[in-house]
């Protein structure tokens, strides 16, 4: 809808607008002048109001030669100078001049600002700057031809006046090429379109050039469990005490079983090697996680629909055999859940997200206000929040089975690498407080997604091969986790900023984490056989090494200062006693049994409230044929108790509770900015308090004259917290964001009151123009 609106009223049209009023004829329009003066940083020479060719000529010599900052392995492909980056907000054609470059890693706009960075922002990504767009982050490119917007893909015959780049992290860039040399326009536009929009080979990803060129001296050892070795899986089994009934197998070494399965994985002890090998791992329950009561979460990739009757008979028999073995003691009862039928399809998810993100890809403020009136119904019509709700609900159902019914849950999906990953990760975040620590969450992503075989490459469409495969499954998980984070902030060691940054890292191709479809693909491409092999196999960076992207000061924003940390027992005891204990706090087993006798769930009263309160009770869960009561009861009884941040955590999923992840989606929109407000204001206060507490602690320690703890985290100083805006730490929009509601000229005109009165007569038809 938005795309239809011409983004640009056009310089020409603006310039001729005031022509009819005599007093406007002088070259510098008073309004523009006032606006320029209005910028908080108006002194910066790079800010130009309404562009006119005259100004360009003045401007050009001032422009310094700025060179892009290139990473190791990064090559400059093409560049264009005298490009103007518009301030997106109001289509007023204010902007900054600079150079637009395209490398094999990013599209980058270089202005004078970037050359002389006098005031370093507090939160800065070292790899991808404010004006950098990695090629994988480009969503769509539009060109403006004679004020019409056209999608640019592949070959171009005409070259646009303005280039609009929509990014996957929801930034929108407007580059005006009108004053650029034609030759350069051709080169840069086709370069950008070619490198970001056309299919490419895996080996052409920047990942490989970077890995071969960058000196890899990272220690690589962080707390995140990578699940690349058998030990990691065994440790995980031991941690969750699943090792009695489940075993880590080496059957897939050399990828004998399947290229989609990880090198090592965990199956029930009773599953034999032949069974695993028989159908390339299909039909085999693969262990995800064990609950404290022994019930386990399993996943299984199903057989594709088989035409041949005998084959499908055999498959059925095989499955029956498997189910029988794992339903027998010592295994718990088994409940199967076919996610492809009980959850929205990948196609639905992709459609919903495409619609949803359109709400935030704002060209100019007119569009924003146009949609603002119907904000809630537009939001609803995207269906994105509804999908989040369904996924969360499914996760609660699974949690209920595990926790209350002591039943194993087997998630079934065609490949077991999409919605299975979402649900199993969510269940673990909800049930296992270890997954709510930073390293625990990262290990979880590593276990279920990276090693688990989620096809990041296809789902993110990094190689631009096929849009059919694209679906924001991982983003869906992050959105769901965000709901939990904002509902129970003290339960998480990380902040929403962490999640936002993680979602951005999906598009930074220097980390291998999100750029392979499977462990097999990664391993085979790691060896670097084809390209010049000067240094043996590539050593890829992992995204979990956050210091690659952020300074320690910025890293502090990823940690939740209010995390209700468990008082740490001895390290040695941790693994054994911790998990069981804390869950019992949250949900005593006595409560687990529904007291049907004379409790509060008698049928009549339920009926009564159905009568007088409408049909809602039970509606939440009625989608399946299962008796919904157990779910509802579980949900309600959990929510009626105080929250234990280290125990089971259930999200609220009622209509008003599912919200928009404002930080991720609104961060570039100046209209949604609050000066001195937003959650950052509280966060800043908290950090101040923390700092004070820490300094007091240090003092105490000195008084004790004991060894200084040395455990003092660095806390960022947000001294001027009152001046921060709600968009912090992302957008640096403060300087241009305020748009006059009343044109400043109104006051100016009033100041010229006497003149005005005298000139009453000439003014007759001006009012129409000014509208």
């Amino acid at each position: 809808m938005r795309l239809g609106v011409a983004a640009l009223p056009g310089d020409r049209s603006f310039r001729c607008l005031p022509a009819r009023g005599k007093r406007w004829e002088l070259p510098p329009p008073p309004r523009a002048g006032a606006m320029l003066g209005g910028g908080a940083r108006a002194s910066k020479p790079s800010f130009v109001s309404y562009i006119s060719p005259e100004e360009i000529h003045i401007k050009e010599p001032i422009e310094k030669e700025v060179n892009p900052h290139l990473l190791p392995g990064e090559l400059l492909l093409c560049e264009a100078s005298t490009v103007c980056k518009y301030v997106q907000e109001d289509g007023s054609h204010r902007g900054t001049y600079g150079k637009l470059v395209c490398t094999n890693f990013k599209i980058s706009f270089l202005d004078d600002d970037s050359a002389s960075d006098d005031n370093e922002p507090q939160f800065k990504n070292k790899i991808v700057g404010e004006n950098d767009i990695t090629l994988q982050c480009v969503d769509q490119i539009y060109g403006v031809f004679d004020e019409k917007k056209k999608l640019l893909t592949g070959q171009l015959r005409k070259y646009p006046e303005t280039l609009i780049i929509y990014c996957k992290d929801l930034r929108v860039f407007n580059f005006c090429l009108r004053y650029t040399k034609e030759e350069e326009v051709k080169r840069i536009v086709s370069g950008i379109v070619h490198h970001s929009q056309t299919p490419k080979l895996l080996k052409r990803l920047f990942l490989f050039s970077y890995a071969s060129a960058a000196p890899n001296n990272t220690d690589g050892r962080n707390q995140t469990v990578m699940f690349e070795t058998l030990e990691d899986w065994r440790d995980e089994l031991e941690r969750t005490k699943g090792n009695v009934k489940y075993k880590a197998v080496t059957t897939n070494e050399g990828y004998r079983v399947s290229e989609k399965l990880p090198l090592y994985f965990v199956v029930p002890i009773c599953i034999s090697e032949e069974n695993i090998l028989k159908y390339e791992g299909r039909g085999i329950p693969i262990w995800c996680w064990s609950c404290h009561n022994g019930a386990a979460l399993l996943k299984m990739s199903s057989f594709p629909k088989e035409q041949d009757d005998s084959t499908s008979q055999m498959q059925k028999a095989f499955l029956d055999g498997i189910y029988k073995t794992i339903s027998k003691p010592p295994y718990e009862l088994l409940r199967m859940d076919d996610l492809s039928s009980s959850l929205p399809s990948l196609q639905d998810i992709q459609t919903a997200y495409t619609r949803f993100k359109q709400l935030f890809l704002i060209d100019n403020s007119m569009d924003f206000w146009a949609t603002d009136v119907k904000w809630f119904s537009l939001l609803e019509s995207t269906n994105w929040l509804e999908i989040i709700r369904k996924v969360l609900k499914k996760a609660i159902e699974v949690a209920e089975c595990l926790e209350i019914q002591h039943t194993n849950v087997l998630l079934i999906e065609e490949s077991a690498t999409d919605l299975c990953c979402v649900i199993s990760s969510l269940v673990q975040v909800m049930m296992d407080s270890y997954s709510r620590t930073k390293s625990g969450f990262q290990s979880l992503i590593q276990k279920e997604w990276v090693i688990g075989g989620h096809s990041f490459l296809d789902r993110c469409n990094h190689l631009r091969k096929s849009e059919k495969e694209e679906a924001p499954v991982f983003l869906l998980l992050l959105n769901c986790v965000w709901q939990l984070v904002q509902q129970y902030p003290p339960a998480f060691e990380f902040t929403e900023t962490y999640l936002t940054v993680l979602s951005d890292s999906l598009y930074v191709p220097i980390f291998s984490t999100f750029f392979f479809n499977s462990q097999h693909q990664r391993d085979t491409n790691k060896s670097g056989e084809s390209i010049k092999t000067q240094s043996g196999p590539f050593r890829f960076l992992t995204v979990w090494d956050w210091s690659v992207q952020f300074d320690p000061k910025a890293l502090a924003f990823l940690n939740n200062p209010l995390y209700a940390e468990k008082p740490k027992p001895d390290r040695s005891q941790r693994k054994t006693s911790r998990f069981k204990h804390q869950r019992q706090l949250s949900l005593p087993l006595t409560q687990a049994k529904p007291s049907t006798k004379r409790g509060f769930f008698r049928e009549e009263t339920d009926l009564f409230f159905k009568n007088i309160l409408g049909k809602r009770i039970g509606k939440l869960i009625n989608s399946s044929d299962e008796p919904p009561n157990s779910f509802r009861e579980f949900y309600d009884s959990w929510h009626s108790k105080p929250v234990d941040y280290h125990g089971l955590l259930l999200p609220r999923i009622d209509g008003p509770e599912i919200k928009v992840w404002a930080q991720r989606y609104l961060r570039w929109i100046p209209e949604a900015q609050l000066h001195g407000g937003g959650t950052i204001a509280t966060a800043a206060r908290i950090l101040d308090l923390m700092e004070e507490v820490q300094s007091l602690q240090v003092k105490m320690d000195e008084e004790h004259s004991q060894a200084v703890s040395g455990d003092v985290h660095s806390v960022p100083l947000l001294r001027n917290s009152a001046r921060l805006s709600s968009l912090f730490p992302f957008a640096l929009l403060q300087r241009q964001s305020v748009k006059p509601a009343l044109p400043t000229s109104t006051w100016k005109d009033l100041e010229d009151e006497d003149d005005l009165v005298k000139r009453d007569d000439e003014f007759v038809d001006l009012s129409g123009d000014m509208l």
Binding site: P656, E703, P743
Partner: protein
């Protein structure tokens, strides 16, 4: 953070001062247990006798409160599946109360969630397994023994009581009927206005909490409060006028008015007749930079001021204070809009009102948030106008008693850091709503004689707007959501005087039969029928600000925002004066409409201004407000500019969704409060260490 909060009666100066006179005038002052007595304070004898079995913990009755009926052994359900609490359900002549089986607290306070004032009951539904649920009114009594009783409250709560079968049947029946009857009676009583002001002295707290310093709540019932506040504002050129001391100039206005110093009372009197309800323009707030905020009713349509009157009017309106901007309430919702939206919102927030997936569009359909947005937008426009230029803005509403209250207080919340402290906010409500004559009883629907069309929860809309600001600027407020919620709920409470009267005059005369407070006589003074001279008799009920009466210390501690501004707001910084009005013409009058200014004329000006209208950009009304701010891009310190875009205006979950099965539970500040506590603890320990250390 110290020094905020009005706790106990001592915090409210006027009430404290007047307390001595109150009970004597009333008689039938209930016996009070001595300070050392074990029973809860203020226990009236009749309440004690109301307990037949004597098994339940004593019921802390209010003065003048009688227990009409009670059912021991009832259970209050908590949430859906949250279990139920056994206790006693009581119906008194003032409220419905539930005393849990266990002693609720050492001081005999009822938990606010366990009581409902009778006027606050919106609907009463009884049900049993043998019969259809039935809505109870005084006219249609119950024909069956109820097993469950659902109480739908105006404040969005839904209370559910169940009666187990063991021999409770007659009691359950009687209580249910009694509630229906009492509710009707209470409404009738409320009409008489004096019913609430029945005898009784608000009982002083046992542990009277001393006020921690200078920050107190001003009630604006005495001259001193007005003078003190004017001084705080530093509004030179303004004085307190006692011209309305006997309410003879304008019955619905407060006794004291802030008017220009240059205008003598004699001249001032000439202006009253030219405004509806005789509500003349008067100062609300003075921006340290020199802007003035005034409020007034609209010009009386029939008035034709003579030249002398015009001189006085223009002195009052313009007074050489720079251009005068008239801001009317045309863009704001009407009272009917507000009421309709509120009803829809209340319906939406009932459990099961709408399917989950349709929730957002249903919310949009209520238009409540739209109204919140338009109020915030208008207030932000006015506030930035005042901050940017030295001018005076006159809020003009036909009656000056509804949306003007809302706008005037919102503008001050945006512009005045003091108004964002707890005592400052209480003073603000006291001045702009209570003293200014917002007709609370009618607007909140506490009366039954008035037609329902009079009902419009403007005050609740204001609280919602305040909550939006609180949510958008958490670090700028000295109070919390818990405080706003308490205030929201207290607006229906029978035991505080703040919201019981339509204006100061009515409050003062509350012991007399009800008077038509709206009587307007075009010219000439209002003759007081009774011989009330000097101070009106203060109402004997304490103001709502005496939180200590109904909220425990722990609860009251949650009223203060630990993340708020560190200290009590100091005197307004003598900040950089706003750009002076550069143009010389003294008689410039503009109108603020749709975010832009255009020249306007006063009704008695013969010649309409000959200037072309000056318009802002068409979308401007919705944009941010840099233009109104003059030249600076960032808002000046102290000024909050809220975002009114769709994603930034939210539903007040904790208030409106309380009726839903899943209660809203400590998700907001506890950990922050915990952190503050830890800090204090550490500081104390450090002090102890320092003391112990040998010097």
């Amino acid at each position: 953070m110290a020094g905020q909060g009005c706790q106990g009666r001592a915090g409210c100066r006027s009430a404290g001062r007047d307390a001595g006179a109150g009970p004597g005038a009333r008689g039938s002052f209930p016996g009070r247990s001595g300070p050392g007595a074990p029973g809860p304070p203020g226990q009236s004898p009749c309440a004690m006798s109301g307990a037949p079995g004597g098994r339940r913990p004593p019921f802390p009755a209010l003065p003048g409160e009688r227990v009409l009926e009670e059912a021991a052994g009832a259970r209050r359900r908590r949430g859906n599946g949250g279990g139920s609490v056994p206790g006693t359900l009581l119906c008194t002549n003032r409220r419905l109360a539930f005393v849990p089986g266990q002693a609720p607290g050492s001081r005999g306070l009822l938990r606010p969630e366990d009581e409902v004032a009778l006027p606050c009951i919106h609907k009463l539904v009884a049900a049993s397994s043998f019969s259809k649920p039935k809505v109870l009114t005084a006219a249609s009594t119950l024909k069956f023994i109820p097993e469950e009783l659902a109480v739908f409250c105006r404040d969005f709560r839904l209370l559910r009581f169940s009666f187990p079968e063991n021999g409770l049947a007659p009691q359950a029946f009687r209580v249910a009927n009694a509630i229906a009857q009492a509710r009707e009676a209470a409404a009738r009583l409320g009409d008489a206005a004096d019913g609430w002001a029945s005898p009784g002295e608000a009982v002083p707290e046992e542990e009277e909490e001393e006020d921690e310093g200078s920050s107190t709540t001003l009630l604006f019932e005495s001259l001193r409060d007005w003078e003190e506040e004017l001084q705080r504002l530093g509004a030179a050129g303004w004085r307190v006028s006692a011209v309305n001391e006997r309410f003879d100039m304008a019955p619905s206005l407060p006794q004291y008015l802030w008017v220009p110093s240059g205008l003598l009372d004699h001249d001032l009197k000439r202006t009253f007749g030219h405004f509806q309800e005789r509500r003349v323009p008067r100062l609300c707030w003075h921006h340290p930079g020199g802007g003035h905020l005034l409020r007034a009713a609209s010009f009386h349509p029939a008035s034709e001021p003579g030249s002398e009157d015009v001189r006085c009017l223009e002195e009052l309106l313009l007074g050489g204070r720079g251009p005068c901007v008239l801001a009317d309430t045309a863009e704001l919702p009407t009272l009917a809009d507000i009421q309709l939206a509120h009803l829809r919102l209340r319906a939406l927030c009932l459990p099961g009102a709408v399917a989950e997936e349709k929730w957002l569009s249903a919310l949009e359909g209520t238009r409540w948030l739209d109204h919140v947005r338009s109020c915030l937008r208008k207030a932000a426009e006015v506030a930035s106008l005042l901050a940017g230029k030295r001018c005076s803005v006159i809020l003009q509403e036909p009656s000056d008693r509804d949306l003007n209250c809302l706008l005037a207080s919102l503008v001050q919340l945006l512009g005045d850091p003091h108004a964002r402290s707890l005592p400052g906010f209480q003073s603000l409500v006291q001045r702009e709503w209570v003293a200014a004559g917002h007709p609370f009883p009618r607007r909140l629907g506490l009366l039954c004689q008035d037609s329902p069309r009079e009902e419009a929860p403007v005050f609740l809309l204001f609280l919602d707007c305040t909550w939006q600001l609180l949510w958008q600027f958490p670090a700028h407020f000295g109070f919390t959501e818990a405080f706003l919620l308490a205030l929201h709920d207290s607006s229906f409470s029978p035991d505080c005087s703040t919201f019981r009267f339509s204006c100061q005059r009515q409050r003062g005369r509350s012991s007399l039969p009800r008077l038509p407070s709206q009587t307007y006589r075009p010219m000439g003074g209002w003759q007081e029928p009774g011989g009330h001279r000097g101070h009106p008799n203060p109402c004997s009920f304490p103001p709502v600000w005496a939180w200590g009466r109904r909220y425990s210390r722990q609860q009251r501690e949650q009223f203060r925002n630990p993340a708020g501004p560190p200290g009590p707001a100091g005197p307004p910084t003598p900040s950089t004066p706003a750009e002076p009005c550069p143009w010389g013409e003294p008689r410039l009058v503009l109108a603020l409409a749709k975010g832009s200014l255009c020249p306007h004329s006063l009704p008695w000006w013969s010649r309409p201004p000959q200037r072309p209208p000056l318009w802002g950009s068409p979308s401007g009304s919705q944009g941010t407000l840099g233009g109104l701010l003059g030249t600076s891009c960032q808002p000046p310190p102290g000024l909050l500019l809220p975002c009114t875009a769709g994603p930034c205006v939210r539903l007040w979950h904790r208030c409106y969704l309380r009726g839903l099965p899943q209660e809203q539970r400590g998700r907001l500040a506890p950990s922050l409060a915990g952190l503050t506590e830890e800090l204090q603890l550490l500081q104390e320990r450090l002090r102890a260490w320092n003391l112990r250390r040998p010097h």
